[in-house]
Amino acid sequence: MSKQSPHGWRKVLAGSACVLLLAGCPSNELPKAKVLPPTQPQTEPPESGNPACQGPRDPGRVTLHRLNRAEYDNTVRDLLGDTTRPARDFPADDHGYGFDNNADVLSLGPLLMEKYSAAAEKLVEAAWPRMRTCSPDPADPRPCARLILERFARRAWRRPVTPAEVDRLLAFLPLARARGDGFDAGMKLALRAVLLSPHFLYRVELDPDPASPAPHPLNDHELASRLSYFLWSTLPDEALLAAADAGTLHDPGELERQVHRMLADPKAEALVDNFAGQWLYTRALDSFHPDPLLYPFDDSLREAMRQETRLVFREFLLGEHPVRNLLDADFTYVDDRLARHYSLPPPGTRQMTRVSLSEHPERAGLLGQGSILAVTSHPDRTSPVKRGLWVLEQLLCKAPPPPPPNVEGLPPPVDPRMGIKQRMAQHSSDPSCSGCHSMMDPIGYGLENFNPVGAWRQKEEVSGAPVDPSGELPGGLHFKDGVELRALLESDPELEHCIARHLLAYGLGRGPTSADACTLEDVASKAGAHGSKLSDLILSLIQSEAFTHRRGEAEGTNEEGSR
C-alpha cells in the first residue's frame, strides 16, 4: 500500500506547494514552509525495499528524561499507593513535537525541585507505616532496614541496586541516632533520599561510550522502563521487572507477549489520556467555552464527548480494527444526552453505550466526534482553518508554515449575513495568505455541517447561510461533503506513517528526525503484514531498533530534531 504511492501529491505539497502556490505572489515575505522530515525517501524505491534503508537503522538519540507530571503521579501511585496526585501543583511541563513527555523540553528548575522535596516528605510520611514490613532488632536494625530499602530502591529506580548503594542509604540510620532519633526517623530520611535522587526523577539510560554514535542495545531494565512509560506512563510492574531480571526482554517473542499483556492492563488507559489526548487535541476540551447563547454546552456534554473519544480509541487499541478505520468507524459510544446532541436515537441510558452508525454515515469516524470538532473551533463559530490544519498536522503530518504577521485571526462578521465561505474568501484575495489557506480551508469546509460543539446543522447559526460542505484536498481532490472527505483521508497512504510518527515522538519522548524515515517505513510495513491495527503499529515500533537500542553522540555535536 505504501509502495504504490511512496511520494504522492502530499510530499510534493509539503515540500514546496505552499511556496509554489505563492510563486507569483508580489510580497517578498514568503512564508517558509515548515518541511517535516520525509517519512519516505525522495527517490522511487525498487519493489524490494528502499535502497536508502538497506543499512542498519540509526536508533537516534534520547535525552535524559525527567518524569513529567503524569508520569510522576502514576509512578508514586504504583510505588507508594498514593492517589493524591501531588504533581498537580508542580509547574506545567513544556511540550515539544506535540507531547509533554519530550525529554529535550522537560526541564528542572528550582521551584520544581522544591516541590519534589516537599512531595517526597509528604509521601514518605503517609506511606511509612505500610512500608515497615519488618521489626528491627534493637541491637542491629540494619538487616531489616536493608530489606526495606533494597526492595524500595529497586522499584523506585527501576533497576537492581548495588550493595554499595544500599550501604549509603543505611548511613541515614546512625545520622538520625546521633541526633537522638530512632529507626523510623532514619528510614524516612533514606526513603526521601531515594525519591529525590536523580535515579528516581530521571529515566536513566547509559551508553558504554557516551561519545560514540555506534548503536547498542539497551539493557533489559532500561528497556522495561521504556515499555512501561510508553504504554502505562508509570514504572515497570513486578512481571516486567522479573522479565528484565531474567534477561529475556530483548527476545521479540517475549516483547510481544509483554506488550499484549500491558495493553490489556487497565494502566494502558494512560496511553488514551496522554497519547490520544494530545495527538487528537482532546485534552483542550477542558478549556473550551463556547458562546452559551449560540451553542448550549455544559459539563455533562463535555464529559460524554471526552468519554466517547476515549472509548473509541480504547476499542482500537484492544480490538481488531485496522487503525485507518479510525476515520470511518461505523460505531461510537454515546449516552442519551450525547445521542440527542448528535441527532442519533438515544440508547435509553445515562451510561456510555456502544451504538452502530451504519444508518448515520455522516457521524462515522473521528471527524464526527464532538470533542475533536469542538477543540478545533472558535467559541463563537467554526474554524475551517483550525479543522483543516488539524487534519493536515495530526492525520497527514504535513504542516503549513504559520501565518505571516498582521493577518492572524478573523474579525466577527461586519455583515452577519456573510457565510463562512465568503469570509474565508478574504484568504484567497490576499496572496500572502492564499498559498497555505488554499491547503487548509477547503479541508475544513468538509466539516461545516458540524457546528462548534459538534451538532449537525444545515444552516449556519448566525448568518443563516446554507452550509456548503464541498471542498477539496490539496492536489485538486474534490469532495462533495464530509463523508467523501473522510473516505479520501481513510484511503490516504500516508495515514499509517503519520500515526506511527506521532507514536514514535510520544513513545521515545523525542522529536522525529530525518533518520527515522526508514524506521517509520519498517514500522508501517511490518504492522501492515498483520493488518495494521493500532496495536500492530505499537508493537512494531517497540520491536524497532529505535526503541530497543540507543547510542551516544560525538562530543561537540548538537543534533536537533529536524523540524
Binding site: D94, G109, P110, F172, R192, D286, E553
Partner: protein, 444 residues
C-alpha cells in the same frame, strides 16, 4: 515590620550564594552588590498582561503633571498620583525575525535580549531578566529571592507560538539565558511556600536538627548526581546541570531555615480556585503579603500567558482575548478589547491600592516599591514593539516622581530597567541588547 538589620553570618551566606552560581550565570556581566539604601526595604514588582493593549484607549491626554486618565486608565483614578505613565518607549529586542511576536515579546519582556527561535529546550536562549538581577542582589535579605506568579500554567496541546518554545510564552523571569523561573499558578501552593517550615514553637535545637536532616538528603542526592554525571554524554550532562543548580537553590533555602520567621499576620490559607477574578485578586494579596512580611522583595505576576485566548465571559464577551486583539480595525473588536483592557487595569489598580494601604513608618509599601506594568506587544493587531504600553507605579523610595505622564521618543525600555535596578541598589550601566544608561525624566 521585621528589622532589616543583618547579621554578619547572613551576609556571608549571601555572598557564598553569589559565588556558588552556576558557570553560565557567572559568565554574565558582573553585577555590583546591592547596597541596601536606607533602612526600609525597596521592592520591585512586575504586572504582565498578554496580547497588548488597544493603544487609542490607553494613551492618556496631556503630559507632565497636566494629564488626564484615558478610558482604559480610568480604574487608576484612586492612585493617579502614584503612577507614572510612560509613553513612547520601545522594546525592539522583543521583535522576532518573522513570526511569533507573542512568544518572542514575552521571552524578552524583562530581559531585553532577543530570544533564539526554537521549539526544543535544548536550543532555548534568552537573557537574564531584570527582576532576577535584582533578586540575586537582594537574596541575602529574605527567605525567598523572588516570587514568580501567574494565572495560567499551560494546556498540553499544539504549539505555543509559531514554533517558539513554550518556555518563552510562559515565563518572564529568567535566572539565566537557559533557565526560566517557573511560576506558581495555585494561590494555595504560594501561601504554603511562603509560610512553610515556620514553626513558631520550634526550639533552636529542633531547627538545627531539621537543617541537618534536610542537608543530609541533599548531600546524598548530590553525590548520586555527581556519580551519574561521570557516565553521561554532553547533552545529558547539560540536563543534569539543571538538577545541580536546583539542588543548590534548595540548599540555600535549608540554610535560611533558622532565619527569623515572619512577624506579620499571615491570614487564612487561600482556597484552590480556577476563577480568574478570584485567582488574580488572591495572587495580588499574596504579593502584598510577601512584601509586607519581607519574605521577598522581588515579585512578578503574569495575568495570562503570551497570546492568551481566554474567553472573558463575565465581561459579556464570547470570543477569546487573542482573537479580539487581532481587531482588524473593526469597532466591535475595539469595544471588546476596551472591556478586557479596563478589567486588566482594575486588577492592577487593586494591587496598587492594596500596597498603598500598608503603612511602613511614614510612608506606604507602595512608596517603597516600583511596580512595572506592561505587555509583550503594543497593539495586538500589528504586533507593535514601539510605543509600548507602560505604567510605572510607586516611588521606589524616592527614585521616581509619580503623578505624571511622560512622553518619550523611542528610548529603549531597557533603560527604564536600568533605572529600576538602581532603585533597589543594583548598579548596572548597561542592560540587555539595547540598554545604555538610566532613563531620563523619571524624577522631577
Amino acid at each position: 515590620m521585621k528589622n532589616p538589620k543583618l547579621s554578619r553570618r547572613t551576609l556571608l551566606r549571601g555572598l557564598g550564594a553569589l559565588m556558588a552560581l552556576p558557570v553560565l550565570e557567572q559568565m554574565e556581566p558582573p553585577v555590583a552588590r546591592a547596597a541596601q539604601p536606607g533602612a526600609t526595604p525597596r521592592r520591585l514588582a512586575v504586572f504582565y498582561v498578554p496580547c497588548g493593549l488597544f493603544m487609542p484607549n490607553f494613551t492618556p491626554g496631556g503630559s507632565g503633571r497636566n494629564w488626564t486618565l484615558s478610558p482604559t486608565l480610568q480604574p487608576l483614578a484612586p492612585v493617579k498620583n502614584d503612577v507614572l505613565v510612560l509613553s513612547g518607549l520601545s522594546h525592539e529586542p522583543g521583535r522576532p525575525d518573522e513570526f511569533g511576536h507573542h512568544a518572542a515579546g514575552t521571552g524578552a519582556f524583562l530581559s531585553c535580549v532577543k530570544v533564539v527561535k526554537t521549539d526544543s529546550q535544548d536550543g532555548i536562549r534568552a537573557g537574564v531578566s531584570m527582576d532576577q538581577l535584582a533578586a540575586r542582589a537582594l537574596r541575602p535579605y529574605t527567605r525567598l529571592p523572588s516570587l514568580e506568579l501567574g494565572n495560567d500554567g499551560g494546556d498540553g496541546t499544539g504549539a505555543c507560538d509559531a514554533h517558539f518554545s513554550c518556555a518563552y510564552a510562559r515565563n518572564i523571569s529568567w535566572a539565566g539565558p537557559t533557565s526560566p523561573r517557573a511560576k506558581e499558578t495555585n494561590p494555595r501552593a504560594v501561601f504554603d511556600r511562603l509560610f512553610s517550615g515556620f514553626d513558631p514553637d520550634a526550639t533552636r535545637a529542633q531547627i538545627e536538627k531539621r537543617k541537618a536532616y534536610e542537608q543530609s538528603i541533599l548531600d546524598f542526592v548530590n553525590e548520586d548526581a555527581r556519580a551519574l554525571q561521570q557516565r553521561l554524554g554532553t547533552r545529558d550532562r547539560r540536563k543534569l546541570d539543571e538538577y545541580f543548580t536546583s539542588v543548590r537553590e534548595l540548599e540555600l533555602r535549608v540554610a535560611a531555615l533558622d532565619q527569623q520567621g515572619p512577624t506579620c499576620s499571615k491570614g487564612p490559607r487561600p482556597e484552590r480556585t480556577e476563577d480568574v477574578r478570584e485567582k488574580t485578586k488572591v495572587m495580588c494579596d499574596l504579593m502584598v503579603l510577601a512584601f509586607q512580611c519581607d519574605l521577598t522583595r522581588v515579585a512578578t505576576f503574569m495575568l495570562g500567558n503570551a497570546r492568551s485566548d481566554r474567553v472573558y465571559d463575565f465581561l459579556g464577551l464570547t470570543s477569546g482575548h487573542h482573537t479580539y486583539s487581532h481587531h482588524q480595525h473593526q469597532p466591535e473588536n475595539h469595544a471588546a478589547l476596551a472591556k478586557i483592557d479596563r478589567w486588566e487595569m482594575e486588577q492592577f489598580s487593586y494591587l496598587l491600592q492594596r500596597m498603598k494601604s500598608v503603612q511602613e513608618g511614614n510612608a506606604t509599601l507602595l512608596d517603597n516599591s516600583l511596580v512595572y506594568f506592561g505587555s509583550e506587544v503594543a497593539d495586538g493587531n500589528s504586533h507593535g514593539h514601539t510605543d509600548m504600553p507602560v505604567v510605572l507605579a510607586g516611588r521606589g523610595g524616592g527614585a521616581v516622581t509619580p503623578g505624571r505622564h511622560v512622553r518619550y521618543g523611542g528610548e529603549p525600555i531597557a533603560n527604564l530597567f536600568i533605572s529600576l535596578l538602581h532603585s533597589v541598589g543594583v548598579e548596572v550601566s548597561r542592560f540587555g541588547d539595547d540598554g545604555t544608561g538610566p532613563l531620563a525624566r523619571l524624577k522631577e
